[in-house]
Each structure stands twice: as C-alpha cells, then as structure tokens.
Symmetry: C2
Subunit: 121 residues, 2 copies
DNA sequence: GATGAATGCATAAGAATATTATGTATGGAT
DNA sequence: ATCCATACATAATATTCTTATGCATTCATC
C-alpha cells in the first residue's frame, strides 16, 4: 500500500468518502481490502487508497450511521463487511451528484476560454 | 468572505493551488482579492475562496518560487500583485493537466456502468 | 459626518483529513 | 523457510482548510 500514487495526493483528498459511499451503493456489501482493490481496478492503478485513511473513514461512517458492519470468518481470519444504511444510501447519491456538479464548475475555471492550452488535447 | 459555500468544503480542498496557478497563467498579474472575485465570477458564486486559505497559499507559492510579487500603491492602500515565474508557469500546466486527468479517472469510479443513477442527468 | 459595506492585506487557533509508519496475523506460493 | 498478498487496526505527524480576528482605506448613503 506504500506505492507512489500517480496523482499528487492533494487532489485525491476530500474524495475518499465519496468513493467509498459510491462503491458501497453498487455492491451491497464490501470489506476494506476489497474496496482498495476495486478502486485500483477502476482507476487502472492511478488511485491507491491508503489503509491509514481508509479504515478511519470506514469507522467514522459507521459511527455516523451511514454504514453497518458484519463480521465474517474466513478460515481463521475475520473479515469485516460494510453495507450502506438507508441514511448512507441517501448520502451516497448526494455526494456523487455533488462531485459531478463540482467537476462541471471546475471546468469553468480550468478550461477557461481566454487561454491557449495545448495540453488539452 | 464568510458566506456558506455551495459545495461541501472537502471537495474544494486540494484544488486551491491549481486554481490560483491557472488564473495567474492567463492574467499576467493578479492580487489576492482579485483572485477571490474572479473565482466567484467564473463559478457563479459556487466556489468562494476564504482568505485564511488563500493568503497562506499565495505566500507558500512565493516561498517556493512559483510566483513573484510586486507592491503597488492604490491611494493610501498597498496592493500586492502576484505573477508566475517560469517555474510557476510550468507547474500551472502540470497541475491543470493533472486535474483534468484526475476528473477522467474519477468518472470511472463515480459514473460506473454497473449502477442505476437517475441523478446523472 | 457617521455608519456600514466593500476593498485589501494578514495571522492564529483549531478541525479535518491525509501520509507515513508500525503492529498483528493468516494463507498461499517458491 | 521465506516472501508476498490478504486483512485488520492505530499512532504520530503533516498538510490544508475553516473560523475568527485584526487592521486600514474607500465609497455610498442617510
């Protein structure tokens, strides 16, 4: 988990909660490690969640009532599954919608017409 | 400057540096207050930079050599203009390009095909 | 000519969130 | 036997932001 990420970390900041909620909204239940792997897969290794950020956020979501947990024994190991509550499902919709809107807004700043930007394809 | 922003603040986090560099890359020189107003204008009031975040970031960019400053007297007030150095101009391109790439990556996570999302248009 | 809003800078205390580092343990492959 | 992947967790630290505050000028308006 200590591999250099493709993006400077500051960009990924603030999106962790949204990412988790979104993934849980389409998978009924997931466990922490599974989430990290799914994000790696979906982003072609460009976003790699760190455990030190992921687990505290999952615990926080649980404390807030956005997710519920279920412990499952896998051999001698205990796997902790998370699933969205109704509250969490509502928040997932809001967060995703808000992020997409935010991206549109940012385009107005970064794609601004009054400049020549050869790096924008 | 203490007006409730449209976006939950965590999303805007991590984009301040990119926003400043981008605006300076198309305006030759700008001062702090002008940047806040330009962002408000470009985002239709949806992103409102706070002074407590803006000024420290400008000072940091200067300390890093990404921007240079020029003090200009306006009546009895002193206005502090910032302009990009060559280094800052390079970073501006990188940051904008990186952010656009990041948005594409996030779409793969948030727009993921395996779900029904009526709120996406 | 007083008063408030806008302009314009700055910093400090605290909160939030991430990185980095570490710890523990199981399971599979070489 | 050793290494890597799986799987959880927490603590110290760093970064970055919010909130609050301070100072001062300029302009409108009452």
């Amino acid at each position: 988990m200590y591999i250099c990420p493709m993006y400077s970390s500051e960009l990924v900041k603030g999106t962790l909660r949204t990412i988790i909620l979104k993934l849980l909204s389409e998978n009924t239940k997931m466990y922490g490690y599974e989430i990290t792997q799914k994000v790696k897969e979906l982003t072609d290794d460009e976003i790699q969640l760190t455990e030190g950020a992921l687990y505290p956020m999952l615990h926080k979501l649980e404390a807030e009532g956005a997710v519920e947990t279920e412990l499952v024994n896998i051999g001698k190991r205990v796997r902790k599954y998370y699933r969205l509550t109704n509250l969490g499902n509502e928040e997932a919709k809001e967060k995703v919608s808000e992020f997409l809107r935010f991206m549109d807004t940012m385009k107005n700043v970064l794609n601004h017409k009054n400049s020549f930007e050869p790096w924008l394809s």
